[in-house]
C-alpha cells in the first residue's frame, strides 16, 4: 500500500495527494498539458441552461466543463448519466453523450453503459434526494461494486424540483413545505454511507470554492474505480444559505478543514488550530496552548486501507469540529468493469470462443433415424 505518492504509486495508482487550499491557495494539480485543442467551450452544449439564476449548480457545471479538457479524454468517450432532480438536468448542458434517466436509477444505467463499454468515461450526476432517498439502494451498490465511474452528488439538503420538501440530508428540525413543524427524522451523512458502502474514493467540496472544487473533480476523474464526490450546493430558492455557517467566505478559514494527503490537519485563519486524537476520538486543539505542538496534530493519509479514520473524519461537523472537505479516502481495488472483462477473457482462454453449434448440440441428445 502506497501512502505517499509522486506521480503513480506501485500499482499504477494515480497520485491524488492534492494540494488545494481555499481559493487563492497556492498549488493546484500539476498535470500534463491538455491534449489536442479541446477547450472548455467544446464541452458546452447548445442547450439553454434552465436552472434558477444564482443556483449553485452553475458553479459546478462551469467547473466540470473547465476540468474536462485537462483529462485527456476525447469528448465522444464521455457519458453523463443522471436521475431526476434539478442537478439531473446536468447532462443536457454537456456537449458529450448524455442519458437523463429516471429517479434514483442513474447508477444502474451507468453500470450497464460502463459494463458494455469500459473505454467510456462515465459520470453520474445526482442530488441528495435522487441518490439517498429514492435511489438509496443503487447508491450503496454502485459504490461497493467499485464500477470505474465518477459519481458527483449535489447536496443542497432540500428537494428543489418538487419545490421545497425536506430531503434525507435536511437538518433535524428544519421547517420545509412538507414539514411545517420541523423535520423529525435524522439526516443521513452521505460520506458515512459512502465509506460504509466500500467506496474506494471519497471526497467532498463546496460549490463556491471554485478552485478546490475543480481539483476534486479532477482527482475524482483520475481515480481508477468508483469516485464519490459530495458537493455542498446552495439552493437559493428553497434552502438559501444552508451552508453559510461554515462555507461563507469570511468564516470559511475557521470553520472548514481542508484535508490534504501527508499534511497535518490544520485550519484557522492563522492555521494554528488542528485535530488531535484523544483516546479513540478526535478533538480540536490550538497549537501553542496546553503544550500542543504541530507534532500532536493528526496527519492525513488518503491511502489508508482501513476506513476507520476516513469514517471518523466524515463524522466531524460544525459546530464542534471544522467541516472537513477534500479527499477522505483513495484506495486501490480492481474495478467491476475490469473484472467483468477478465472473466470473459479467462472463459475464452479456457474453453475457446463460443461456438453456437456446440452450444445447441449439448445436453441430453439423441438421433432419430
Amino acid at each position: 500500500m502506497n501512502t505517499q505518492g509522486n506521480g503513480t504509486n506501485g500499482n499504477g495508482h494515480v497520485d491524488q495527494s492534492v494540494s488545494a487550499e481555499s481559493e487563492g491557495g497556492a498549488s493546484l494539480f500539476h498535470i500534463a498539458p491538455p491534449p489536442g485543442e479541446l477547450t472548455k467551450k467544446d464541452f458546452v452544449s447548445n442547450q439553454e441552461v434552465r436552472w434558477c439564476p444564482g443556483c449553485g449548480d452553475y458553479a459546478i457545471l462551469n467547473n466540470v466543463q473547465k476540468v474536462m479538457p485537462d483529462l485527456g479524454i476525447p469528448r465522444e468517450k464521455m457519458v453523463f448519466v443522471s436521475g431526476i432532480g434539478c442537478s439531473s438536468r446536468f447532462p443536457y448542458y454537456m456537449n458529450t453523450y448524455g442519458f437523463h434517466g429516471i429517479h434514483g436509477r442513474a447508477p444502474a444505467i451507468a453500470t450497464g453503459i460502463k459494463a458494455a463499454n469500459p473505454d467510456l468515461s462515465v459520470w453520474v450526476i445526482t442530488g441528495d434526494g435522487d441518490a439517498l432517498s429514492i435511489g438509496g439502494n443503487h447508491f450503496v451498490h454502485v459504490l461497493r461494486r467499485n464500477l470505474d465511474i465518477n459519481y458527483i452528488l449535489f447536496n443542497n439538503r432540500i428537494y428543489g424540483l418538487t419545490k421545497g420538501q425536506y430531503s434525507p440530508t435536511s437538518v433535524f428540525g428544519q421547517r420545509t413545505k412538507s414539514t411545517p413543524m420541523g423535520v423529525i427524522d435524522y439526516p443521513l451523512n452521505p460520506l458515512s454511507l459512502a465509506i460504509a458502502s466500500e467506496a474506494t474514493f471519497v471526497a467532498r467540496s463546496i460549490d463556491i470554492d471554485v478552485k478546490h472544487l475543480g481539483a476534486m473533480v479532477e482527482a475524482a476523474a483520475k481515480h481508477k474505480g468508483v469516485s464519490f464526490l459530495e458537493v455542498y450546493q446552495n439552493c437559493n430558492i428553497f434552502n438559501d444559505g444552508a451552508f453559510d455557517y461554515f462555507a461563507e467566505r469570511s468564516v470559511r478559514p475557521d470553520k472548514v478543514l481542508y484535508l490534504e494527503h501527508g499534511k497535518p490537519m490544520l485550519f484557522g485563519k492563522d492555521r494554528n488550530k488542528g485535530i488531535r486524537m484523544k483516546g479513540a476520538l478526535p478533538e480540536v486543539v490550538t497549537i501553542g496552548e496546553n503544550d500542543v505542538t504541530e507534532a500532536d496534530i493528526l496527519v492525513h493519509d488518503i491511502y489508508l486501507e482501513d476506513p476507520s479514520v476516513a469514517f471518523m473524519l466524515a463524522r466531524m461537523e460544525q459546530p464542534e469540529f471544522p467541516q472537513p472537505v477534500g479527499i477522505f479516502r483513495s484506495i486501490n481495488r480492481t474495478s467491476y468493469d475490469q473484472l467483468l472483462v477478465e472473466q470473459i477473457d479467462s472463459a475464452i482462454a479456457k474453453s475457446g470462443p463460443g461456438s453456437l453449434d456446440k452450444l445447441i448440440n449439448t445436453g441430453d441428445m439423441w438421433t432419430v433415424e
Binding site: 442519458f99 429516471i102 450497464g112 473505454d119 472473466q343 479456457k350 445436453g363 441430453d364
Partner: protein, 620 residues
C-alpha cells in the same frame, strides 16, 4: 457384478403388453430426489424413441419439514409412441414415496390408476404429518386403484448393507433409484442411459456411484422377479421426423436462444437480472456462457437490472432483462424510459401465479395486460410469447430482431409451465438461421438523434464513443428529429403517435396467423403461450371425430398478426382458453368486436386436454 444383483429366485413368466401413452407422476419429499428420478426416466424414454413432455411440480419451500404436505415435490412425465404435446391430463401411475406424497397427489390419479407406494414410510409419525387419521394402506380407501406396496426403504438398505461404505443417510438417499429401477422394468426401459449418467456424475465418488448402480439394478431385478408385478408394458418408438434431438426446457431454450440472437446480430449479450422464481435458471444458464462474451449482471434489485440493460443497450449491447411478474411490476417505469428513449430492450417475463408474491412455483398467464398496457402514459411495447419449451429458442431470436429493427422494448412472455417443462427439440442448423441486421449511425453530417427511418420510423442508434454524434437522450419528451427537450403540445401528440405507429408498423414482421384445421367453421379455439399443447391436442382429437373445430395460436400479441380479424370472423364462436380471467379475450373483443368467449383457469396448473374438449363441446 455383485451377488445381490442376481435374482433371488428364478424369473417367473411375465406378460408383456403394448400401450400407446403413459403418464407417470413421481412424488416424494422435496429431499427425495423426485426431480432427478423423473428427469432420468424422461431422458431414457427420449433415447429409446418415445415422444416426451414433462411437468415438474415443486414447492416454493426449499426443504419444508420432512414428511409434511407442503414439502411434497412431484415430477410428471408423459411418454408415448404418438405425437404428444402435453405432460398428460392425469397420471396413470403414481409413485408415492411417503404418505404426504400420496395425500397430495392421489386426487389427480386416474380412476383405477396404478399406485406404487413405499410402504416403509407409512409409519404412525409420517401418517400424522400427512394428516391421515387412518392408514390408507389398511383402511380400504385405495380400493379403486391398482395398488403395489413395496418396502422400498428396506429393500434399498438391504441391497447396500455391507456392499458400500456409506452412512445410513447416504444409503437412504439412494432409494429413489431403487424406485426408478422398478419403473424401468415395468416400462421396459434400458438401464444404460442412467448407468452412464451415474458414472459421469459420481466419477469422483466411486462409493456413491456404486451404491446408485446397485440399487438401480436391484430395483429392476426385484420388479422382474417379484410376484407383485405380473405385466411389463412396452411403448413403441414414436414416429418422429428424423434428425438430432435434444431434450430441452423452456428456460434452457430461452437462454441459448438469446445467446444465439446476440451472435446472429454480431453484438454482445448483456443480461441484467435479479433472482426470482421461475426465471432464475435463465441467469444461471447465461452465466455459464461467458466465452460468448455474455455479460450477466446480478443486480441489487429488479429496477437496477432493467436500467443496466437499458444502459448496455445505449452502449450497443443486446440489452436483456429477465424476471417474473412481480419483477416486471417493479421494472415498468424503466421500460417506459426505454420506450421514450427509443432504445431496443427485451424483457423476459416467466409468468407465475399472482398477484403479489402469489404462487411462485406455479404457472399463470395473467401478465398479458401488464405487458401491453402496464406503464404510465401511452407507452406501447411489442409483445411476443413462445408456445412450447422448444419454441422459446425461436421467439428469443425473434424478440431481439424486432427490438433492433424498431428500436423498441419487446416483452417476451414465457411462464412457469414452459420454463420447467421439457420436450424434444429438433436442433436447428445454425448456418440456416437468418442474421439479425444492425446498423449504427456513424456519419456526423446532419446527425439528428430522433430522425426517422422511412419504413419503420426507428430512430438511429448512435453509440457513445462515436465521434461527432454526441447527443443526449432521456425520459423527458423529446422534439421529433432533433431530440431536444420539448414541451410543445403539438410535438407531444406527434411523438405519442409516432411511438405507437412504430409498434403498429411491426406488423410487417409478424407472420400471418395460421389456422389448424378448416379456415372456416363453427368453433375456433384461440390461444397464446403455453396453452398451445393442450389446445392443439384437444382440437386434433375432436377433428379426428369429425367435429367442426379449428384452432389458432398467437405468438405475437402486440401487434397482432395482420389477418387475425379475418380469421376470427370466419367462425361462429371463438373460445379463448387462458390461465387468467380473459385478458387476450378482452383484447380481441375490444379490437375486433367479436363476441369471443373467455375460458379461464387460474389454478396454477396448465389446462388439461379434456377440459378444453368439454368446453368446446358446449358450443357445438
Amino acid at each position: 457384478m455383485s451377488a445381490v444383483l442376481e435374482p433371488p429366485v428364478p424369473a417367473i413368466d411375465k406378460n408383456k403388453e403394448e400401450v400407446e401413452t403413459v403418464t407417470i407422476r413421481f412424488a416424494g419429499d422435496s429431499g427425495d430426489g423426485m426431480q432427478l428420478t423423473g428427469t432420468q426416466f424422461t431422458n431414457t424414454s427420449a433415447i429409446v424413441g418415445n415422444d416426451i413432455s414433462t411437468l415438474p411440480d415443486f414447492p416454493a419451500e426449499i426443504r419444508a419439514p420432512a414428511g409434511s404436505l407442503p414439502g411434497v415435490s412431484g415430477f410428471q412425465l408423459n411418454f408415448s409412441s404418438q405425437d404428444i404435446r402435453t405432460p398428460g391430463d392425469q397420471p396413470n401411475v403414481l409413485v408415492a414415496m411417503n404418505p404426504a406424497a400420496l395425500k397430495v397427489n392421489l386426487p389427480d390419479l386416474e380412476e383405477g390408476g396404478t399406485l406404487i407406494i413405499n410402504s416403509d414410510e407409512f409409519t404412525k409419525e409420517n401418517l400424522e404429518r400427512a394428516a391421515y387419521k387412518s392408514n390408507p394402506l389398511e383402511d380400504g380407501s385405495l380400493a379403486g386403484y391398482r395398488v403395489h406396496t413395496l418396502p422400498i426403504s428396506t429393500l434399498n438398505s438391504n441391497a447396500l448393507k455391507g456392499t458400500v461404505e456409506l452412512s445410513r443417510k447416504e444409503i437412504s438417499r439412494c432409494k429413489n433409484f431403487f424406485a426408478l429401477g422398478v419403473l424401468y422394468w415395468l416400462y421396459d426401459r434400458p438401464l444404460d442411459p442412467t448407468l452412464n449418467w451415474i458414472n459421469a456424475k459420481f466419477r469422483k465418488n466411486p462409493e456413491l456411484a456404486k451404491a446408485n448402480e446397485v440399487v438401480l439394478k436391484t430395483g429392476y431385478n426385484f420388479a422382474e422377479t417379484t410376484e407383485v408385478f405380473t405385466t411389463a408394458y412396452t411403448i413403441k418408438k414414436a414416429v418422429i421426423a428424423p434428425g438430432r434431438y435434444r431434450k430441452i426446457t423452456g428456460n434452457e431454450a430461452t437462454a441459448i436462444g438469446f445467446v444465439t440472437a446476440a451472435e446472429l446480430a454480431g453484438r454482445t449479450l448483456f443480461y441484467g437480472s435479479y433472482p426470482i422464481t421461475p426465471a432464475s435458471d435463465i441467469l444461471h444458464e447465461l452465466a455459464r456462457h461467458k466465452n460468448f462474451g455474455v455479460k450477466t449482471f446480478q443486480a441489487e434489485d429488479e429496477i437496477a437490472a432493467v436500467c443496466a440493460a437499458i444502459g448496455a443497450s445505449f452502449a450497443g449491447h443486446v440489452g436483456l432483462t429477465g424476471t417474473s411478474g412481480p419483477g416486471v411490476a417493479l421494472k415498468q417505469e424503466a421500460i417506459g424510459l426505454a420506450v421514450m428513449t427509443e432504445l431496443p430492450l427485451v424483457i423476459v417475463n416467466v409468468q407465475r401465479g399472482g398477484p403479489s408474491t402469489g404462487l411462485p412455483t406455479k404457472t399463470e398467464q395473467a401478465d398479458l395486460f401488464q405487458a401491453v398496457w402496464g406503464r404510465n402514459g401511452e407507452c406501447p411495447a411489442l409483445v411476443v410469447a413462445p408456445a412450447t419449451p422448444a419454441d422459446c429458442f425461436n421467439m428469443a431470436i425473434e424478440s431481439v430482431r424486432l427490438a433492433f429493427k424498431y428500436m423498441v422494448p419487446v416483452f417476451y412472455l414465457s411462464d412457469g409451465y414452459l420454463a420447467n417443462g421439457a420436450e424434444p427439440w429438433a436442433v436447428p442448423a445454425i448456418e440456416k438461421l437468418p442474421r439479425i441486421e444492425v446498423t449504427f449511425a456513424t456519419n456526423p453530417t446532419n446527425f439528428m438523434p430522433y430522425a426517422r427511418d422511412e419504413a419503420t420510423l426507428a430512430r438511429p442508434w448512435a453509440l457513445p464513443g462515436t465521434p461527432g454524434l454526441e447527443h443526449r437522450i432521456g425520459g423527458i419528451e423529446k422534439q421529433n428529429i432533433t431530440g431536444n427537450v420539448n414541451y410543445d403540445p403539438e410535438n407531444h401528440q406527434l411523438m405519442v403517435k409516432l411511438r405507437q405507429e412504430k409498434v403498429d408498423r411491426a406488423v410487417a414482421d409478424v407472420p400471418p396467423l395460421e389456422v389448424f384445421g378448416e379456415p372456416k367453421g363453427k368453433v375456433l379455439v384461440l390461444g397464446w403461450g403455453s396453452t398451445y399443447g393442450s389446445i392443439t391436442s384437444a382440437v386434433e382429437k375432436m377433428q379426428k371425430e369429425g367435429k367442426p373445430v379449428s384452432s389458432a395460436h398467437l405468438r405475437y400479441l402486440n401487434p397482432f398478426p395482420g389477418n387475425l380479424g379475418e380469421v376470427l370472423r370466419n367462425f361462429e364462436t371463438v373460445i379463448v382458453p387462458e390461465m387468467n380471467l380473459g385478458q387476450l379475450c378482452t383484447m380481441i373483443r375490444a379490437k375486433y368486436l367479436v363476441d369471443a368467449v373467455a375460458f379461464s383457469k387460474v389454478k396454477g396448473r396448465p389446462f388439461q386436454i379434456r377440459e378444453i374438449i368439454r368446453k368446446v363441446e358446449e358450443y357445438l
